[in-house]
Symmetry: C2
Subunit: 505 residues, 2 copies
Amino acid sequence: MTSSDRIKNAFLRSKIMTAEDAASLIQSGNTVGMSGFTGSGYPKALPPALAERIETAHDAGENFKINLWTGASTGPELDGALSKSDAIEYRLPYNSDPVGREKINRGEIDYLDMHLSHVAPMVWEGFFGKLDVAVIEVTGVNEDGSLIPATSVGNNKTWIDCAEKVILEVNSWHDERMLGMHDIYYGTALPPNRVPIPMVSADARIGQPTFRCDPHKVAGVIVTDLPDRNAPFSPIDDTSRTIAAHLMEFLQHEVKMGRLTNRLLPLQSGVGNVANAVLDGLKDTPFHDLKAYTEVLQDGMMDLLDSGQLLTASSTAFSLSPEAAVRFRENLDFYRDKVILRPTEISNHPEVIRRLGCISMNGMIEADIYGNVNSSLVMGSRIMNGIGGSGDFARNSFISIFVSPSVAKGGKISTIVPQASHVDHITQDVQVLVTEQGLADLRGLSPKKRAQTIIKNCAHPDYRPMLEDYFERAKRDAYGLQTPSLPSEALSWHQRFIDTGTMRP
Amino acid sequence: MTSSDRIKNAFLRSKIMTAEDAASLIQSGNTVGMSGFTGSGYPKALPPALAERIETAHDAGENFKINLWTGASTGPELDGALSKSDAIEYRLPYNSDPVGREKINRGEIDYLDMHLSHVAPMVWEGFFGKLDVAVIEVTGVNEDGSLIPATSVGNNKTWIDCAEKVILEVNSWHDERMLGMHDIYYGTALPPNRVPIPMVSADARIGQPTFRCDPHKVAGVIVTDLPDRNAPFSPIDDTSRTIAAHLMEFLQHEVKMGRLTNRLLPLQSGVGNVANAVLDGLKDTPFHDLKAYTEVLQDGMMDLLDSGQLLTASSTAFSLSPEAAVRFRENLDFYRDKVILRPTEISNHPEVIRRLGCISMNGMIEADIYGNVNSSLVMGSRIMNGIGGSGDFARNSFISIFVSPSVAKGGKISTIVPQASHVDHITQDVQVLVTEQGLADLRGLSPKKRAQTIIKNCAHPDYRPMLEDYFERAKRDAYGLQTPSLPSEALSWHQRFIDTGTMRP
C-alpha cells in the first residue's frame, strides 16, 4: 500500500530506504528529535525498527540508548516500542505512554517535563546541546523539496532546522488534501533579534503551508501507509456533564456581567474525557461564532465545527478518536479552511495567548484549598504525564479554569487537599476551579477566602468536613495567617493514601 | 516649600485643596488606587490625613475601611499609616510595609498577592469591580492638563483611566527635569482588540512622556514637597560577594560557550542587598554595553550607568537609597536619556520579556531539592512581601536565576529544603540556583539530577548530609521515582523550625 508517489522531489526520492536501513543511521548516544504530538503525526516505521536494533544490541551485551525529544506524547510504535526496549536514556518534553511512564517512575528513564512553549526556544538557545537526527513524519514532499506536514506540527520545524541529519517518513495514510491547513511560521529568532509575532486573531495565518528542508541534510526517506493512533473517548458520564454545566453557567454569568460576549474569547481545552464533556456542554448554550486557540483539536472541537458554533480552530495537532479521524477525512474539504495547525512554539506562545485573551480549560490531578494546582505528579512523586502546555495557557489566559471530579479512585482520593503534593500552577494562575460539586470563582479573593470558597463549592461532601477541620485548626495554629497551613499535617492525606490505599482516615 | 507653580493648567489649579479636604472625598468601602512602587512616587499627604480621619471614625465607633490598590509596595506615610490605623480591608498587589505585613499575618488585612503584570489587565477586564478613587503623585501638571509622572509609574495610567474620580498630589520635591524620562504606552486594549506591543529593544520608546487625564475627573489637587523614602542598602557582605562571583563566572562561561556575548542580554534584577551585590559584581567583568529591562532601578544599576558599563535602564520605578537619590538629582541631565520608566504592565509584560530574552536574577526565601522556589511565604504561611514581578520574569526570561544565602537566621534556617513549603516558581521556571556555596546550572536536567546538583552545589555543609539522607531514602521509598519525596517528612524541617526555632535536629 505504501507508495513513493508522494515524493515529488527526485533527489529525495533517491533517498528511499527501508526502516531498518534508516534506523542504522542512528547511533547509541544520539539525540533524536522525532515528530509527534498526541497520537498524531509521529514516525511509525523507524522507531520499531530502531527498537529492534537496540534490543539486538542489548542482547549482545552492548549499551545502546538514545535521548528522545518530541513535540509531546506520541503513539505506541514510538514511545511504546522504544520504552519497552530500554532504548531511552533521556526524554523530553512530555510522555503519556504507559510503559514509558512506568519506567520513568521506576527511575529508569531520565524525564524532563517541560513547558511546551519553552522547548523550541531552548533548543535554539543551545541549552540542550546538539540534535543529531530528526525523524519526521510528513504527508508528502513537493517538487522543490518542501515538506507537507502531517496531522501534528509540534517541534518539527525546529527539529528539521537544527538536526545534523533528517530522516523522513512519508506516510500515504495522511490525506494530501491537508496541504494548506498548516501555518508554519519562520519569523522566530534568537534574542536580541526577536520581533513581535504578528498574530492578532486566533485564525490568522502568519506563515507558510510547508516545512523548508535542506535536501542535503536528508539521510533517508521511508515510505509508509500507517494510521495515527489516538485513544477513543469514553462516553460522557454524569460527573463530567455536571462539571460542564457549572462551567457553562459561569460563562453565561460572565456574559450577563458584560465581561464577555456570546462570542466568548478563543477557547483552549486540554485533552481527556472531562475536557471533551466541557466542549460538548457548549452545544446547549447561546454562544456562537466561537474560535479555538488551543494545542490539540479533539473530537469535541470537531463536533462544534460541524455544527457551525465554532468557526475556526487553531492547534498544533489533531487528537481525534479513530471514528472522528474517519469523519475528518470524509469531510476534509469542509474542515480545510477552518482548521489551522501551527508549530507548538506559536500555538503555546505566551505572547499570543495573552494577546488573544484565551479562555483556558484544563484538567488536573489535585488542587489545594488555596487553589495551587498539581497537574503532573500523583502523590507528589509519581508522574502521570506532565505539565504539557497547561502552564503556557493558565498564566496568560483571560480566565484560567481547572476542572476535575472532586474524587478519584472510587472516592479513595480527594482531588481537593490541604496542600498540593506538587505544584504546577500557582494560586495566581488559577482563577476558576470546577468539580461536579460546584464552581469556585477565585478572582480577586485573598487566600483564606479562596479556601472557604473551594472547600464549600468544590470539595466532595465526604472530605469537606475534614478540610474544614484542617482549615479551622490552621487558622488557629499556623505560623502566619496569610495562607494558614500546618506543615506536619499538610501532606498527611497523601501519606495516608500511600500507606493505606485511601485518603479516608 | 510647597508651590502651585507646578500646576500649569488653570482648571486644575482651581482644584487645590488641603490633604484633609481631599481625604474627606474618600468614603468607607471605597476602592482606592494609589500610586507608588517601592518607596517611590507614592502620595505622601493624603494617606496620613485619611488615616487620621479613619482613626477618628473608629474612635467614634464607626466602621471605616478602604480597599487599597497600588503599583507595588509604598512608603511609611501610605502603607504604614493606613495599616497602623486599621484602615485597610483589602490590599493588592504587593506589600512590604512591616505594620501591614504583621496585620496580614494576623489575618486582619485581606491581602491578594499578584503577578504584577496581571494587575492592570485584570482591572480593565472588570474582575475586581469598580475603582472609586485614584490618588496619584505627580511631578507637575502641564497646561493641557497632562500629568508629568514622578519617580514611579506602576499602575498609575490604569488608575487614572479607570477611577471615577482622581486626586492628585503635585510634589515639588520631584525634579521637573524628569519630564521626558517616562514612556507611557497607550496601546493596550481588551481582547479581542489587543495588538502586539511594538517593543523590540530594552531601550525603545513606544509611548508618550505624560499621563492623559480628563480634568473633569479630578476632584482635588494637593501640593506637597515631600521626599521619597527608600531604605538604604547595607554594605555588601562576603556572602553576597561570593554569590555574585559564582554568577559572574557562570555568565562568562556562557559567553565562552557562545550562548551569550559580552553584551549579555537585558538584565532584570530584583531588589535587596544580594541583588545589589550581584549588580556590583558586574563591575569586574568584561561585560559591556549592557542594557537593563527590569521593574526597579536600584543603586547598583545607577553605579553601572555611571561607569558606562550599562547603557540604558528600563524600569517602572526608582528604588534608590537616600544617597543615590541625591546623586540622581545632581546628575539628572546625565541620566535623562539613559533611564526609561514605563507602566508595570509593560515593564513586566511576558510578551516583551520573552521577546527581549532577559537574564533575570531574583532573590528567594527557599528552594527545594528539585528547584521549586518559594519567594513569598515563610514556613509556607507567613507572608514576607509577595511574588511581585518575579513570576513575570522567571517564566519568560532567557535564563532565570534565583539567588540566596544557603542559610538564614544565623544558620537556623536552611534555604535549601526537602520540599518548598510554598511554591511561587515551579521547577520549569528555575534554570539556575546560586548560594554562596556554589551555582547549580539546572538547564536540561531531569528532577533527580537537579536534586543531586542543588544539594551538592548550593546546600550549606551543615544541612547537606541531612538533604542527602532524605534524598537517598526518598529514592528508596517514594511512591514514584520521578521526583522522589516522602510526604510525611517533606515539610518536617519547617515544622521543626516552628516548634524549636531551628531547622537543625
